[in-house]
């Protein structure tokens, strides 16, 4: 219920902002049509993850829970982070409110704080620590037992992942350009792949609660250990593929950017 209402609010705010922005500036201005599409797909991914039978299944099947988490962190978070959510959110406010917010966030201190929070190294570490801490057996099990802690888990997964992808995409303004994103995205593939591999090869069931839901698992032909292996594989292989695809995308952008810079500083080079 909480998830559904938050999602409804998120869609309403983005939609209202987009309509007002495009009415004022023209369609595709400020937020491109592709970005609006990215938001829509990311939002749908959250609906599938949080307000669908998948969410109910995740209570009994660790593999389903893992699929849910990967949808949140690897599909929804990057798409929404790339969709200029702040610009759209800003335009959801009336003109006066917009001006006041702009004045408040334009200050030097705010700018410094924001660039410290979104620095590639900071968002990388934040996302990594969040991911690992929640997989400590005691904490994961506690989240399964308590509805509110579970909501906190999903919210921190989403926000740290969104901040991570935001930092990666905006890291190009730093000194290392897109190079920073290449390094940090690959390094994330490494540590989340390691966590997936540990789950896959562990001879124990990590989270005691998933040793008790054997009835649902049996319906899928799984034992608790097989369910955990499936979850580990999901985190290891498909998730790593997405990270590697992301890393390669940033690598291509890095090369393109350096080509552009070279042509700018040495106009004699062939275009």
């Amino acid at each position: 219920m909480l998830a559904a209402s938050l999602l409804a609010v998120a869609l309403a705010v983005y939609g209202a902002g987009l309509i007002r922005l495009w009415r004022n500036a023209g369609s595709g201005q400020g937020v491109r049509a592709g970005q609006a599409m990215a938001y829509a797909i990311g939002w749908l991914a959250l609906v599938v993850a949080l307000v669908s039978p998948l969410d109910a299944l995740a209570d009994d099947l660790f593999a389903a829970h893992m699929a849910q988490h990967e949808l949140i962190m690897l599909v929804a978070a990057p798409l929404i982070a790339l969709a200029s959510p702040l610009v759209a959110g800003m335009w959801a406010l009336p003109a006066g409110g917009r001006r006041r917010v702009m004045r408040a966030v334009r200050g030097r201190r705010m700018a410094l704080a924001w660039s410290a929070i979104t620095a590639p190294a900071a968002v990388w570490l934040l996302h990594a620590v969040t991911l690992w801490i929640w997989h400590v057996p005691a904490l994961f099990d506690a989240a399964l037992q308590s509805e509110s802690l579970h909501a906190v888990q999903h919210l921190t997964f989403f926000w740290t992942a969104a901040l991570f992808w935001w930092g990666m995409a905006h890291g190009r303004y730093g000194r290392a350009g897109y190079g920073a994103a290449v390094v940090y995205v690959f390094a994330t593939a490494v540590h989340s792949g390691v966590l997936g591999a540990l789950l896959t090869f562990s001879p124990y069931v990590w989270f005691p609660l998933y040793a008790t839901t054997t009835k649902t698992m049996a319906a899928f032909g799984l034992t608790p250990l097989e369910d955990q292996q499936l979850a580990g594989l999901l985190m290891w292989v498909p998730a790593s593929m997405l990270f590697i695809a992301g890393g390669l995308y940033f690598f291509a952008m890095w090369l393109r950017e350096s080509g552009r810079r070279a042509r700018f500083t040495q106009p004699s080079l062939p275009a």
Binding site: W132, V190, V194
Partner: protein, 115 residues
Amino acid sequence: MAADLRGDLLGAKAHLTAVALWTGVLAGPLAWAADLTVSYALVKWSCGHNASGVLHVPSLAALAVTLGAGMLAWSVEAESERDRFLWLLALAMSTLFTIVVIATAMPPWFLDACR
């Protein structure tokens, strides 16, 4: 004779530059591979001896190597186009593998290796 000496010194300097740059390029991946192998082998021993702290040692050593190699390459003054390329590659490699070593070192911070 002075010209000979100068030539030798220049040759030695070029040699040192090459060593420093190639260290920067190669030390990172080698240190990471060694860290992974040694850490993996240590898990069983550390559980038997109740010494989980030992799992941090190879990672710290590898981190020292990647950082050291990066700083070594950083200190080189590249004079040719080729050296500048190697310099950039050395910095990129040691930065990448510093972060990758940290990423690989995460499990024992959060999880019990013996479970």
